[in-house]
Symmetry: C2
């Protein structure tokens, strides 16, 4: 097994670049960190390209890693690669797998329009996974799904359901051709969500934390929904709103 | 108006201490930051003890602050007081107002058992506010509601509904005497949440991010609920779970 001591080693510099979106986009790869995420990635075929572990860290015997290149690194290198304050000392380089053909087959879709907070995006991906959603689409202006904070908040759900980046207007046009109802979310001018209950296929869209969905996308939906505020808060967190709607829809299916 | 230039000024040191829980507990005060939070605090009687603003920052004319002591500070002092990377330059020192007598009058309660993540706690308080919950109780082992991150995530909901810290076993005993049904949440050995629908009063408990509710508290509930996972994620984020349950309950009321 290879061992790398110095954080100035060119290979380390290459890995570290994957903390930056531009570099991830160019290489079509990303880096994940921690036992749980690496384990979930290993369950997927053709995903993990390389495993990196800090010396002294024991990898679980059950991990099927015989065919995967592995590098041992010093604690110093581990700290450089980590996006967290206390690293678990295990990382993997993974392949970005976006197959837009999935849109054709997905029955239930969640579309994100301009979401910015990585923690929200990760939590929403995790919630969509839990609610049994078939596909998550990240529209223009939504933060990168391979951002380390998104990956961490999603707790492995990236490996459970397909996540694609695509222009939402194109996706909505396709869905309309297929007769899939498309529901937007809005604080105003919508109908209360409990008045509708999709049976079978649907697409739900949630929008930016501050400004909500873009006018362009809102104008393309079949119906726009709101969640009533019974107290004095101005709004719900977008991930909470997504959770309420996805489980409400699921209960009616 | 007083002006403080140096971050070494003893008054600044006193304010800065309020970033630490022990100091907040002793003084029964806390510090909030940003226009939205200060504005929400000012709407409450007998809450804001003092306003601090960085020189050059204009306070909204509509703020009713004539009777409140105000101090102008340098940018340097603003940075010292801020818990964020980019401060808005406006702060308030507020009085902790916990009135446990509220428990007697609350019809709908949300109880937090051992929650640790300040972002989750704040988001849950905001969600409880939105769902029209009467009271939030933070049990032992739950992080401080006056932690700056909790305050920020709650987006002013601290000023919209009462939040008390109290031993949950005591609270549950009191609720049972009053005949209020108490629902726990668990990943196992519960009933699916959609099989129940409280009418009128209820208390809902959510637990620690990793370990869930404590066995002690779980054993005191009338019924324990779970939210089904339809995909491959192991669990839901606790704030998402709270949002799904609170709105489900609300819809049936």
């Amino acid at each position: 097994m290879k061992f790398i001591q110095s954080s100035k080693n060119p290979v380390v510099k290459q890995w570290k670049k994957l903390l930056i979106k531009k570099e991830r986009d160019q290489s079509r790869t990303y880096i994940i960190e921690g036992f749980h995420l690496v384990e979930e990635a290993l369950k997927q075929e053709d995903t993990v390209l390389e495993i990196i572990s800090v010396e002294g860290i024991d990898l679980p015997n059950k991990w099927n890693v015989d065919s995967i290149p592995m590098t041992l690194v010093s604690e110093e290198v581990g700290k450089v690669l980590s996006d967290t304050e206390t690293t678990q000392g295990v990382f993997a380089i993974c392949k970005q797998k976006e197959d837009s053909a999935n849109i054709e087959n997905a029955k239930t879709l969640l579309l994100l329009d301009g979401l910015q907070d990585p923690g929200n995006i990760g939590t929403i991906i995790r919630t969509a996974d839990a609610a049994g959603i078939d596909l998550v689409v990240l529209g223009k202006g939504t933060a990168d799904p391979y951002n380390p904070k998104v990956l961490r908040s999603a707790q492995g759900s990236h490996f459970h359901l397909p996540i694609v980046r695509k222009d939402l207007t194109e996706v909505i046009t396709l869905l309309k051709e297929k007769g899939v109802p498309v529901y937007g979310t809005t604080l105003e001018n919508g109908v209360e969500y409990v008045t509708i209950q999709p049976k079978g296929s649907y697409a739900l869209i949630v929008g930016n934390e501050g400004s909500g969905m873009s006018q362009e996308v809102l104008s393309l939906t079949d119906q726009n929904l709101y969640i009533p505020i019974y107290g004095k808060s101005e709004s719900l967190n977008v991930a909470i709103a997504a959770g309420i709607l996805l489980y409400y829809f699921k209960n009616g299916q």
